[in-house]
Amino acid sequence: MRYVPHTEDDVRAMLQRIGVADLDALFAEVPREVYHPDGLPWPPRLSEAELRRHLEEIAARNVPLSSRPSFLGAGAYHHYIPAVVDALAARGEFLTAYTPYQPEASQGTLQVIFEFQTMVAELAGLEVANASLYDGATALVEALFMLQGGPGAAGERRRVVLSTGIHPEYRQVVRTYYAHLPYEVVELPLDARGRTDLEALAAAAREAAVFAFQSPSFYGTIEDARAVCETARAAGAEVVQVFDPIGVAVLTSPGEAGAAAAVAEGQPLGIPVQFGGPHLGLLATRERYVRRMPGRLVGRTVDLEGRPGYVLTLQTREQHIRRERATSNICTNVGLMALRATIYLAALGRRGLETLATICLQRAHHAACRIAELPGFALRYPETPFFREVAVRCPVPAAEVNRHLEARGIIGGLDLGRFDPAEERTMLLCFTEMTTPADIERLLGALAEVRAS
């Protein structure tokens, strides 16, 4: 057995101490007809070398983003991960600890979370943040619950309004969670410029408990977040903004805009794309909601001798105490991902994050202008500012463009027809510090070969 250290002598001595004849006797209370003493049918065991080779072979059947120019984003972004992030996050003291219920033995994890909460609150421009949620989509659901007063809260307003600028998969997750709750989920379409129609919002928000929007939107467009928040709040709805944790270094923060809460997918902050997870759900809000926040919170305090230290706090919100009346069922979150984000943000720092955001912005604008000059191509929302992603109209279906790019050794953008058949000729292209000027030239060259058939 690979990871069991007992010798035969150990087992014999321990069984004797317990007073049973053999290991199977330990399972005496299990009905015999369901007990498999020799184990279940199973593929053969692989040695460490065999196992590694086996998985290398499987991995070799995938095309890594790092192996060729890639312009795919849409909620999971290929940014460079500094070596220090992997090196520090791999330390066994971090990696193999669990939820810091024993604070004296967990000051490392606890202080990291305290720093993480501070950094997330700073990014969002809000007052407090929690210790993480599973991902951006579930963070959005949790924020909606928090603002409406709990999953089944019986407020007067029983409606949540989602902008269609929110990632379509996030909206699907919201619908799944609300399917059995006494709330109506309605969507507010973006206007022709890829932005919220404020008049329509004013009308829709009148009966809504919460309005949620995303800026930069799924389509890359940047909203006038202040105007959006003001309009929704004037109609009596609370507002949650889905933001971009790198873009927010240069873009209006949710706090500045006036949102009551902000959520984000934290994956761009030093976490591999790794086929969609684990990623990192960020949630920040204003002080008045802190007792309704889901998930862990770390607070600073002092020990018996007056030394500063950290503990999990306000735990009465959580499921292990409040059980069926908890604000959320979340228990294990994504602590290791929060650690990675903390190290990443500390590595870049205030100036680094702003510089990185600006590089993305500049490369995306350079590429977008050049693409718009190609025959048959145009920006989908030419009047609207964007950050690192831009929706582009193609002369042929985006799926065809992608096949052409693939043949040229390029991973293209997202075919928006995947989520909306009306947009089958639109492609969402993403530009980061990993898409070099040379990659962009290659993309432009390949796109120039695409002609309307």
Binding site: Q315, T316, R322
Partner: protein
């Protein structure tokens, strides 16, 4: 043995009720305060809220526990001890005095509202049992 003043009315869920004029002042007992330990937060109703006997009107939290507060009488809330929000020590120090929680105007006459609540002797027997059971 925790203090159980005579003359008050008690619930099995450890609230006390004290008639004052036509109204009833409500709090939690010294026994409740001692078993909760380390109080950190209290949530009380708003002025004008309707409360019903045996139903939850708020909650009180210690570091690792949360307990519901149940109303001893039917009626509406006419005063709330706002000072507790910032100073729960008042409640630990003096649960029958400055640690009062709310004042209720009963929906019915006072004797009718208080009928069926425990007197001090009955409540004392109850907590003796709990202390034994909790061993």
């Amino acid at each position: 043995m925790s203090e159980v003043p005579a003359g008050l009315h008690y619930t099995a869920s450890h609230e006390w009720a004290r008639p004052e004029g036509e109204q009833v002042v409500v709090g939690i007992t010294a026994f409740a305060v001692e078993s909760l330990q380390d109080l950190v937060f209290i949530e009380l109703p708003k002025l004008g809220d309707e409360v019903r006997r045996g139903e939850r009107f708020g909650e009180i939290e210690s570091v690792k526990a949360v307990s519901d507060l149940y109303s001893p009488v039917d009626g509406s809330v006419v005063a709330v001890n706002e000072a507790l929000a910032n100073d729960l020590d008042r409640l630990s120090r003096d649960p029958y005095g400055e640690g009062w929680l709310i004042r209720i105007a009963p929906r019915t006459s006072l004797p009718e509202a208080l009928a069926g609540l425990l007197d001090a002797a009955a409540y004392r027997r109850l907590i003796e049992q709990e202390e034994h059971g909790g061993g």
